[in-house]
């Protein structure tokens, strides 16, 4: 019986976990700008569950549900690189992990003039981070401008 897409992914996921544990204990905990395999690091470290994995035109999306109830989506380019992460829920995901080497540039970026507690838009070179919402309903996304696959609209990254 051929593997279904779902089965295929679960297998790949398991393979990734075993590989990550056995071969590369020092593997970056990040996802943005990292290979798809780090999606599994998120699952392991965050005690989360993979809710779905879906191929769209030009990229693949993994959705992870975190213990807080927040959903975290990781967008993977055909090259295998995570080019965007998005989230929505009551508590933000661990962005130090999700943004990896882009976390520090993000938090150290200058604040916009007339900021309020409901919006944040940061662009530092290739990195764009946008957040919105209010208490219990926090939305955000981070992406690498140069890594967005051709034909993919930023508006699709939700």
């Amino acid at each position: 019986m051929p593997l279904s897409r779902s089965d295929e992914f679960k297998c790949a996921a398991l393979a990734a976990v075993v590989l990550a544990a056995a071969l590369t204990p020092r593997m970056a905990s990040a996802t943005l700008g990292e290979p798809e395999i780090t999606v599994q690091n998120d699952v392991v470290r965050a005690h989360a569950s993979i809710k779905s994995s879906q191929d769209r035109t030009g990229y693949r999306v993994h959705e992870i549900t975190l213990p807080s109830g927040t959903s975290l989506r990781e967008f993977v380019a055909p090259s295998g690189m995570v080019f965007a992460v998005t989230w929505q829920g009551p508590i933000r995901p661990d962005l130090r992990q999700a943004l990896g080497r882009y976390f520090e540039p993000f938090v150290s970026a200058p604040r916009a003039k007339f900021a309020d507690r409901r919006h944040l838009q940061v662009q530092q070179g290739d990195l764009v981070v946008q957040m919105s919402g209010h208490m219990r309903a926090l939305f955000g996304r981070a992406y690498l401008l140069s890594a967005i696959p051709s034909g993919v609209n930023v508006g699709d990254l939700q």
Binding site: L3, S4, S6, D7, E8, K10, C11, A12, L14, A15, A16, V18, L19, E36, R60, P67, S68, G69, P78, G80, P90, I91, R92, D94, L95, R96, Q97, L99, F103, F106, V107, R111, A112, K113, F114, A115, D116, R117, R118, H119, L120, Q121, V129, Q130, M131, S132, G133, H134, M135, R136, A137, L138, F139, G140, R141, G155, Q158
Partner: protein, 438 residues
Amino acid sequence: MASMRALKSGLCTVLCMAAIACGGGGSSAGTGVGGSSSSSSGGVGSSTSSSSSSGGSSSSSSSGGGVTTGNVANVIVDQGPSNNSVNTLFTSVTVCAPGSTANCQTIDHIQVDTGSFGLRLLAPVLTTAMRAALPVETLTGGKTVAECTQFVDGFAWGPIVTADVQIAGETAKSVPIQSIGDPRYSSVPSDCSSGGGTAENTVATFGANGILGVGPFEIDQPACATSAIAACYYACATATSCTSSAVPTAMLVPNPVTRFATDNNGIIIVLPSVPAPALTVSGSLIFGIDTQTNNQSGTQTVLTVDQSAQLAMTYNGQTLANSFIDSGSNGIFFTDDSIAKCTNTLTDFYCPAMTLTLGPLSIEGMNGTMANNLTFDVGNAQTMLNAHPTFNVFPQLAGSNSNVASFDYGLAFFYGKRVAVAVEDKVTTAGTGPYIAF
């Protein structure tokens, strides 16, 4: 991609066999309201001076939205303690040591926020004696309780203390509140700061001396009562050694209005209409709905909200499910790629060549009730702010929203309206919360 999958399938074959089974599978006309607006340099009322920008304490009851009696607190939109606030609504709050009516401190410039839940004060504005008089919550076993409160642009860290809270003539006894930036709790856990954004633990970074979350829910983060969730509640063996922990619901920070002895089912914000930018605007924060002669429901539109305080707005033919009405947003934030964005330091805001009147905007509550044919104005943020560098009230200030499924109608929605916010499960003659009515 194909070769990647092939690789994975190969790996799967090898690894799965050795491991676990892997085959399973614009606003409408408001009713007549009180309050006033001013574009003169004199401000509103007897005093609009703020406490020092470094956040000194204040016992004044006349600034920052002064205290009045009964169930009505004064509110004001002014420059705030950081001297650069726009469209930010403030009031004053008095905290007392639990059980005391003498050991109290009144703090001005507490932001009135319908988009959060709970009272949070910046510890540096409390006197050392007052900080010492407000006991830190202690769990069974002796650990103290602290919270990492996430706002969109950052986080606020500090212990949960209990205080008697007085606003206008209302009192709530022994209410858990957060003491943000408390010098005793100087070590922010890394899994708190990992949520990203700015640490808002000083008056300067917070932009207020505190925040009064009067949104339509009773508890700030109910999910954190049942499991330890990072960047939520913490148990602290010492003040500088805290780890995420479940905390009983009764110890979580509540919307303090729900703890008032009376007038505890919600609030009403009343602000005058503001046709043009103004220096300041003042109005009223009324406690209770249908509990006194001054807070009766009339024929307003009642829109219930979902469990995230959201409702649907329809703009440009798109229904936006993550929309909300929010006194804590300083602009009207929505997606419309046809409007020019500002450049330079104001890139979050819109800068159309001329002021636009947009609509129709419709708002639909979860109860199916609609508010239709609203319109709103969008001005050029750069032009307005340049023309009025000292003003704090900009009803036409609007900007983009990175969530394309959200229309965030900020404080501008409240100008010229009487807006009621009813708390979840609380009954009023107009309906049962959570709802927003206007």
